[in-house]
Amino acid sequence: MTRRELLALAAAAPLAAQDVYDLLLKGAHVIDPKNRRNGIMDIAIGGGKIRKIGSAIPAAHSRRVVELGGFYVTPGLIDISGNFGSSGGVNPDHNSLRAGVTTVVDSVSVNAGSLAAFQRDVAAHAKTRVLAYWNGPNPPAARGKQTDIVIDVPAPRSFADAKGGELREGEILTHIYGPTPLPASARRKGVTLDVGHGASSFYFRTAVPAIRAGLLPDTISTAMDRKSLLLPRANMTNVLSKFLAMGLTLDQVIERSTVNAARAIRRPDLGSLEEGAPADIAALELRTGEFGLLDSGHAKLTANKELRCILTVRNGAVAWDSEGLSLTHWRDAGPYSNFK
């Protein structure tokens, strides 16, 4: 082989090389409604992005392998309403990432006076992708301004907030299972029907008959605040569990917390598993047993299934791992040193 041939071979080698992955999620039941994926698959992640989704990706190609047999894997969930503001809100990482949510949209905190503080104190600290609706006149988009945070969708309104006025196409009607049933006139073509659970907007006595009558939500959101996180503990997996208990299928609740949510906030780049896109992924366990799920009035629905998040990947990094599936046992970790 001549020197020239050797050089040519060396130059060509990277093109032919197999990707080395950082993280391989193996053997989970993948539910990705947008792409109609529903079955046992592997997901390979590298450089913060999803590199490959397929069957039997070799474990040998990844630095870290997480066996997820028996668990469900979904796109990182999207919670389209909640109070995450710097005064009075809750911490998105502590309350959302741990429930499989990788994108939250603040619905009450951001306006011209508070945007800078929100950016500095909340969004910049969070591993969760933090977006926000604009609460006030002259949204940035109307002034031709782009921000990383403010989305170009009006903040969700309840039927009462709309004061009898009609919501326009593209708007989000929230709190649809409040203390009193939603009038039939509230439903409009092109308007997203959203749960927005919160401390005072989700009642089984409204939701159970409504769902039986066919009034399903388009999107499932928590509208979490400091109050609703204690009683009734309405984080994302808790709210999804309620809809499972009321008869929706797992596919239906995942669809409403991923692709539908992305569509409602006009971020079609989110809410699905795409090769080449940032790796935001949730791994969920469907536990069986006896579980008490509380509504906003603190009445209980006793359920025999509960959804729990066991692992969250955000931007390709494991951000939550309740079972330690991605971690090494300390006795196998070699000598501990000051340097990580």
């Binding site: 400091r226 204690l230 009683l231 009445a299 599936l325 090494t328």
Partner: protein, 407 residues
Amino acid sequence: MRLALLLACAAAAFAQPRYDIVIQRGHVMDPANKIDGVMDVAIANGKVARVAASIPAAEARKVIDAQGLYVTPGLIDLHAHVYGYSGSILPDDSALPAGTTTIVDAGGAGWRTFDDMLERVIRPSRTRVYSLLNIVGHGMVGQTFEDNVEDMDPAKTAAKIAERRASIVGIKVAHFGGYGWVALDRAIEAGNLSKTPVMVDDKIFTISGRTSKEKLLTKLRPGDLHTHVFNDRQLEVVDRFTGKLQPYVQQARERGVLFDLGHGGGSFLWPVASQALKQGFFPDTISTDLHSSSIMMAESDMPNCISKMLNLGMPLYEAILRSTVNPAKAIHHFPEHGTLSEGSVADVAVFALRKGVFAYKDAWSHKALGNQKLECVLTIRNGEEVFDRDGRGFPEWTKAGKYEVIP
């Protein structure tokens, strides 16, 4: 006439249950009163009204069945971060679902900033929040501040403690990167002036001019606390090479120096903790050092810290003692807090002890596997149910009528 009055009283008593909440059939662990068995607990007007073998359901507005669960005083987390530090957490959404009803902020505020903490964190929180005041006047706001000896004023620190005695329980000295003992000496001087304990969170380098032995045997006073007990960069509890418990640790304990867990994001290491517990060394107090990083991967809330101790061989009763009575004593609030004594403020936690295989992670994201896990299922603060994971204290919606909020 007298009979009629008696009947009227009895009728009134019947119509008006005398207790707000009765927790029935739980295994009560109340180390202060040496209770360790199945008992009922009654709560009225925000106070523990009675702990007895059997309290009739008819005497309570609300009955909570705790069969198969443990009922303990609300836990006291002696070391957490809820103010000042950029990684601070919100007390209520982190503490109350963990069964923690009292949280001690370890040095977030100094004498210059404490009043702001009082206004913004202590008063609005449902969790009871105390402060260990930082010897640094500006509090825990970064290394340059924490190294600044000029801002460590014992007199002003002691004066602020005297002014805010209801909320400040001691002094914190932390992260001093300079040479020698000046930061600790000033904290102890403030401790002497205010008659409060000092909690030490140290850095030890070869150039620091400080050693664990000198610190524990000559500097700290009886009742002072060393936190981060299983971080061998702060305190070499076990010899780094032989794994043997250091003799001076036992000597310090005999002098009355207290050792606090302070798990945190960098201070719980399996090799150190497992060696120490194997040799019978239990921390005096179990605490979380909860902040934004330790809450995620290490999950260092109180039930998890306790579970780690259980899986390293500490009996549950000992762990509850170290999460209730001992921290209350350390901050000079015993028997006011940390007990289920009749007449005390009703701060109560209910736990399930699950069996299975569970992963527990240390500060460097290495795991150990254990076969038991303590989980908080219900928390009562000041006589009010504030967290109820499984809705034990509430009726089925089909039987609830037209409810807004069910009390």
